[in-house]
Symmetry: none
């Protein structure tokens, strides 16, 4: 038996990420929340965010799920193995965006619920908004920190 | 000076469309709300909706904006000019889905605010949920009815 | 709580479909078994089957899951709404192959387990092999028959 | 006259690679076995492996066949000639994944039978599972070792 993410929780997560970005005075954001299989449940784009942001946010989240790691681990691997990540991006149509701001969503037992991706400001700030939204809903985020 | 759709209104529209589908006992839905430029503000997918639904909902809305007509008018034209619509779909990567369920969003003066697309049940039921959501927010929908 | 398909069952399904095709003297087949989210668990291609067969088998199964109907219902809809299916194929990169031979896999309670797609002979014979394999494993197949 | 790989041997190879990964306590894997022409005979994905793994495994095997070298030799060349491999990936749609874990399959006389690709854990561990599966079936693997 395991929990799955529903659209209400996904919409609340995405809304919270955008709200935190505004409250922190960051650049306008887009946020994508995907289920564990990589399919979208909620994608929101601040009306002032540039138009590629929803795709980038989706690619951050989908890359985490497609490879099984948080965005920081993807970033480390892309730096160590650029040819591998170039190839993955060609085959997946750019679905793997290997930077911070993509975070795996887990329940209290570590079960995979899906992923959130945020794009709009620096990668660090994108991730910060993702984590604030995750904490607000009482979920656990896996960014791919080296010690995580 | 003119009104534009913001992400909060877009998210409320999409949420309302999914809620109406549930209340009416229809099949699970996805709903996409795009700004007047065709870029997504809010995309929601019921967790029980099949996974192509968000893309289809987006394509219904985007086709309306890309061509300047509601979904019913696109459907009539696709039936009358199949080769034209085949070509459009090849050049746009399938972004023009010419069926009911794509509705242009207008303000009280007829100004274009964006579009909503709904997918999950029959085209007629998809459109019905779009119109219920539009009415709930006090906006005006342009389905491309022959007399509209 | 719900059942999910594992790779062993998927491989047995695919292997059984190919074996039934041989025993019936049909043309060489490919068979794809996908999980409920549309991701492959097992794809097998008879060494004498032509090389597009695995992609076609995958597209039959993936179309059923992406749209939420068995292949026969997809075929009826594609005939009634050709422009809609042309558009869906453009946006999905040809993932929706609307013919018999794609079958949703369900458990005894009707829960969705995934889908199987078979390609190699006529659509009717493809579906026949899918159904023989499904019966052999004690699962339930949903072909999209009008009365199903 | 020469030997060719059949689907039964391919399915046994792929199944053996996944089993070795489990027995060694490695991360969940996908494995692709292609014939000498680069077309799939068997693709298996552990139900717990992330969803890009089948494509990556296929790309590792297909890259070996497309270029005529094992994955380790491809990795060396990609490091020495990054622009060349970027171009190859653009033209092939990401089919050449130049890392360890892609292994050419040869018969006792060195004749080319096909290739196997494994993805899920580190490249070294992926290759290890490929080689264990190859040994189990009494075939010969060509990883592209410098001295091979």
């Amino acid at each position: 038996m395991y929990l799955s993410l529903d659209v209400e929780s996904a919409a609340r997560l995405a809304g919270a990420a955008l709200r935190h970005a505004r409250q922190l005075g960051l650049r306008p954001m887009a946020c994508a929340v995907l289920d564990a299989a990589g399919h979208p449940l909620a994608v929101l784009r601040d009306e002032h965010a540039s138009f590629l942001r929803p795709q980038i946010a989706t690619g951050k989240a989908r890359g985490c799920l497609g490879m099984g790691f948080g965005g920081r681990e993807l970033a480390r691997r892309a730096q160590a193995m650029p040819a591998f990540f170039d190839a993955i991006n060609s085959l997946s149509g750019g679905e793997v965006i290997p930077v911070a701001g993509g975070v795996l969503l887990r329940d209290a037992e570590g079960g995979l619920l899906g992923a959130i991706g945020v794009s709009g400001d620096t990668s660090d700030n994108d991730e910060r908004c993702a984590l604030l939204a995750i904490a607000e809903l009482g979920l656990h985020g896996d960014c791919g920190d080296a010690q995580a």
